[in-house]
Protein backbone atom coordinates (compact mmCIF):
# COMPACT_ATOMS: atom_id res chain seq x y z
CA UNK A 1 0.00 0.00 0.00
CA UNK A 2 1.36 3.39 -0.93
CA UNK A 3 2.26 5.81 1.84
CA UNK A 4 -0.23 8.43 0.65
CA UNK A 5 -3.06 5.91 0.78
CA UNK A 6 -2.03 4.71 4.23
CA UNK A 7 -2.11 8.26 5.58
CA UNK A 8 -5.84 8.45 4.96
CA UNK A 9 -6.60 5.62 7.41
CA UNK A 10 -7.44 6.38 11.01
CA UNK A 11 -8.35 4.44 14.12
CA UNK A 12 -10.34 5.20 17.22
CA UNK A 13 -11.19 3.30 20.39
CA UNK A 14 -14.60 2.78 21.90
CA UNK A 15 -16.41 0.14 23.97
CA UNK A 16 -13.30 -2.05 24.37
CA UNK A 17 -12.93 -2.22 20.61
CA UNK A 18 -10.94 -0.57 17.86
CA UNK A 19 -12.37 0.88 14.67
CA UNK A 20 -10.31 1.18 11.49
CA UNK A 21 -11.61 3.35 8.66
CA UNK A 22 -10.51 5.31 5.65
CA UNK A 23 -11.02 9.00 6.25
CA UNK A 24 -11.94 11.41 3.47
CA UNK A 25 -12.39 14.92 4.84
CA UNK A 26 -13.93 16.17 1.59
CA UNK A 27 -16.69 13.53 1.49
CA UNK A 28 -20.21 14.11 2.80
CA UNK A 29 -20.83 13.42 6.48
CA UNK A 30 -22.44 10.09 5.51
CA UNK A 31 -19.41 8.86 3.59
CA UNK A 32 -16.55 10.46 5.48
CA UNK A 33 -15.46 7.19 7.09
CA UNK A 34 -15.46 3.96 5.06
CA UNK A 35 -14.49 0.51 6.31
CA UNK A 36 -11.39 -1.18 4.86
CA UNK A 37 -12.12 -2.56 1.39
CA UNK A 38 -9.39 -5.21 1.52
CA UNK A 39 -8.09 -7.70 4.05
CA UNK A 40 -4.87 -6.27 5.51
CA UNK A 41 -2.85 -6.83 8.66
CA UNK A 42 -3.38 -4.64 11.69
CA UNK A 43 -0.58 -4.38 14.24
CA UNK A 44 -1.38 -2.98 17.66
CA UNK A 45 1.47 -1.75 19.84
CA UNK A 46 0.14 -1.90 23.36
CA UNK A 47 0.73 -1.87 27.09
CA UNK A 48 -0.52 -5.19 28.36
CA UNK A 49 -1.22 -6.93 31.64
CA UNK A 50 0.92 -9.93 32.60
CA UNK A 51 0.04 -13.58 32.12
CA UNK A 52 -1.80 -14.69 35.24
CA UNK A 53 -0.22 -17.25 37.54
CA UNK A 54 -1.80 -20.70 37.44
CA UNK A 55 -1.14 -23.85 39.42
CA UNK A 56 2.20 -24.28 37.63
CA UNK A 57 4.56 -23.48 40.50
CA UNK A 58 7.66 -23.51 38.28
CA UNK A 59 6.36 -20.58 36.19
CA UNK A 60 8.53 -17.48 36.40
CA UNK A 61 6.63 -14.25 35.57
CA UNK A 62 9.85 -12.66 34.34
CA UNK A 63 9.96 -15.20 31.50
CA UNK A 64 7.56 -12.74 29.86
CA UNK A 65 9.59 -10.28 27.80
CA UNK A 66 9.88 -6.84 29.39
CA UNK A 67 9.38 -7.84 33.01
CA UNK A 68 12.80 -7.79 34.74
CA UNK A 69 13.63 -10.25 37.52
CA UNK A 70 14.10 -7.60 40.22
CA UNK A 71 10.43 -6.63 40.10
CA UNK A 72 9.32 -10.05 41.36
CA UNK A 73 10.07 -8.64 44.81
CA UNK A 74 7.42 -5.99 44.22
CA UNK A 75 4.76 -8.66 43.64
CA UNK A 76 5.77 -10.30 46.92
CA UNK A 77 5.62 -6.94 48.73
CA UNK A 78 2.06 -6.32 47.57
CA UNK A 79 0.99 -9.87 48.41
CA UNK A 80 2.45 -9.52 51.92
CA UNK A 81 0.58 -6.20 52.28
CA UNK A 82 -2.69 -7.86 51.29
CA UNK A 83 -2.05 -10.61 53.81
CA UNK A 84 -1.65 -8.08 56.60
CA UNK A 85 -4.79 -6.25 55.46
CA UNK A 86 -6.73 -9.50 55.89
CA UNK A 87 -5.40 -9.78 59.46
CA UNK A 88 -6.30 -6.20 60.38
CA UNK A 89 -8.65 -6.15 63.35
CA UNK A 90 -7.42 -9.48 64.66
CA UNK A 91 -3.73 -8.61 65.01
CA UNK A 92 -2.37 -5.54 66.75
CA UNK A 93 0.39 -4.48 64.35
CA UNK A 94 -1.23 -5.67 61.11
CA UNK A 95 -2.25 -2.16 60.00
CA UNK A 96 1.26 -0.77 60.48
CA UNK A 97 2.79 -3.75 58.71
CA UNK A 98 0.34 -3.39 55.80
CA UNK A 99 1.28 0.27 55.54
CA UNK A 100 5.01 -0.58 55.57
CA UNK A 101 4.72 -3.19 52.82
CA UNK A 102 2.40 -0.92 50.83
CA UNK A 103 5.05 1.81 50.92
CA UNK A 104 7.70 -0.68 49.75
CA UNK A 105 5.47 -1.69 46.86
CA UNK A 106 4.86 1.95 45.91
CA UNK A 107 8.61 2.54 45.90
CA UNK A 108 9.05 -0.44 43.55
CA UNK A 109 6.31 0.99 41.32
CA UNK A 110 8.33 4.21 41.08
CA UNK A 111 11.40 2.22 40.04
CA UNK A 112 9.29 0.29 37.55
CA UNK A 113 7.98 3.52 36.03
CA UNK A 114 11.53 4.77 35.61
CA UNK A 115 12.57 1.51 33.96
CA UNK A 116 9.54 1.54 31.65
CA UNK A 117 10.13 5.16 30.61
CA UNK A 118 13.82 4.62 29.95
CA UNK A 119 12.98 1.68 27.67
CA UNK A 120 16.47 0.25 28.08
CA UNK A 121 18.02 3.31 26.49
CA UNK A 122 20.55 5.59 28.09
CA UNK A 123 19.41 8.33 30.44
CA UNK A 124 19.09 11.41 28.25
CA UNK A 125 19.57 14.12 30.82
CA UNK A 126 18.24 15.72 33.97
CA UNK A 127 16.70 19.04 34.92
CA UNK A 128 18.68 21.03 37.47
CA UNK A 129 17.18 23.76 39.63
CA UNK A 130 18.90 27.15 39.89
CA UNK A 131 18.56 30.07 42.27
CA UNK A 132 18.55 33.53 40.72
Amino acid sequence: MALTDQQSYVYWLERDGIAIAKYDKDASIDNRFTSPAAAKTITLFVVKSPTALTTDLTYNPTSEAGLPEEFCEAFVEKAVQKGYEVRMGTEENAAASAQYWGAKFNSSVKEGKKFATRRRGAVTGSIKGYDY
Binding site: T41, K48, N60, V76, A79
Partner: protein, 87 residues
Protein backbone atom coordinates in the same frame (compact mmCIF):
# COMPACT_ATOMS: atom_id res chain seq x y z
CA UNK B 1 11.99 -16.04 40.75
CA UNK B 2 9.48 -18.84 40.31
CA UNK B 3 5.93 -18.74 41.60
CA UNK B 4 6.91 -21.31 44.25
CA UNK B 5 9.69 -19.05 45.54
CA UNK B 6 7.34 -16.07 45.69
CA UNK B 7 4.71 -18.08 47.58
CA UNK B 8 7.37 -19.23 50.06
CA UNK B 9 8.42 -15.62 50.69
CA UNK B 10 4.81 -14.58 51.35
CA UNK B 11 4.34 -17.60 53.63
CA UNK B 12 7.20 -16.37 55.84
CA UNK B 13 4.87 -13.52 56.85
CA UNK B 14 1.56 -15.35 56.53
CA UNK B 15 2.14 -19.03 57.38
CA UNK B 16 -1.60 -19.69 57.67
CA UNK B 17 -2.48 -18.37 54.18
CA UNK B 18 -3.30 -20.98 51.55
CA UNK B 19 -1.52 -21.33 48.23
CA UNK B 20 -4.61 -20.36 46.21
CA UNK B 21 -5.12 -17.22 48.29
CA UNK B 22 -1.48 -16.18 47.92
CA UNK B 23 -1.64 -16.82 44.17
CA UNK B 24 -4.69 -14.51 44.01
CA UNK B 25 -2.75 -11.78 45.88
CA UNK B 26 0.24 -12.21 43.59
CA UNK B 27 -1.93 -12.00 40.48
CA UNK B 28 -3.55 -8.80 41.79
CA UNK B 29 -0.07 -7.44 42.57
CA UNK B 30 1.24 -8.22 39.09
CA UNK B 31 -1.76 -6.63 37.39
CA UNK B 32 -1.53 -3.50 39.56
CA UNK B 33 2.22 -3.20 39.05
CA UNK B 34 2.00 -3.54 35.26
CA UNK B 35 -0.97 -1.16 35.03
CA UNK B 36 0.75 1.54 37.12
CA UNK B 37 4.21 1.24 35.56
CA UNK B 38 3.11 0.48 31.96
CA UNK B 39 6.19 -1.72 31.87
CA UNK B 40 4.94 -4.57 29.67
CA UNK B 41 4.85 -3.59 26.03
CA UNK B 42 3.70 -5.99 23.31
CA UNK B 43 2.43 -6.17 19.74
CA UNK B 44 -0.76 -7.90 18.61
CA UNK B 45 -1.57 -8.69 14.99
CA UNK B 46 -4.84 -9.62 13.32
CA UNK B 47 -6.20 -9.42 9.77
CA UNK B 48 -8.97 -7.02 8.83
CA UNK B 49 -12.17 -8.32 7.26
CA UNK B 50 -13.52 -6.61 4.15
CA UNK B 51 -16.12 -3.98 5.08
CA UNK B 52 -15.73 -4.61 8.80
CA UNK B 53 -14.77 -1.59 10.86
CA UNK B 54 -14.91 -2.78 14.46
CA UNK B 55 -12.61 -5.34 16.06
CA UNK B 56 -12.60 -6.45 19.69
CA UNK B 57 -9.51 -5.83 21.80
CA UNK B 58 -7.81 -8.63 23.70
CA UNK B 59 -8.69 -8.45 27.40
CA UNK B 60 -5.00 -8.26 28.34
CA UNK B 61 -4.58 -4.90 26.58
CA UNK B 62 -4.35 -2.02 29.04
CA UNK B 63 -3.59 0.77 26.57
CA UNK B 64 -3.14 1.07 22.80
CA UNK B 65 0.03 3.04 22.05
CA UNK B 66 -0.01 3.03 18.26
CA UNK B 67 -1.50 1.17 15.32
CA UNK B 68 -0.10 0.02 12.00
CA UNK B 69 -2.34 -0.74 9.03
CA UNK B 70 -0.68 -2.92 6.41
CA UNK B 71 2.72 -2.10 7.88
CA UNK B 72 2.30 1.68 8.04
CA UNK B 73 1.59 3.70 11.14
CA UNK B 74 -1.84 5.33 11.05
CA UNK B 75 -3.18 8.27 12.98
CA UNK B 76 -5.56 8.18 15.90
CA UNK B 77 -8.79 10.06 15.32
CA UNK B 78 -9.37 12.73 17.93
CA UNK B 79 -12.84 12.06 19.31
CA UNK B 80 -15.36 9.90 17.43
CA UNK B 81 -17.07 10.31 14.03
CA UNK B 82 -20.34 12.23 14.13
CA UNK B 83 -22.09 9.43 12.28
CA UNK B 84 -21.72 6.38 14.49
CA UNK B 85 -22.29 2.77 13.55
CA UNK B 86 -21.58 -0.75 14.73
CA UNK B 87 -20.52 -1.99 11.31
Amino acid sequence: MTQKQMIELVKQHHPDAGETEIRRWLNQAMREFCRKTRILKAAFQFPTVINQRWYGLDSSIIEVLSVDYDGYKIKRLVGNPNLRDLE
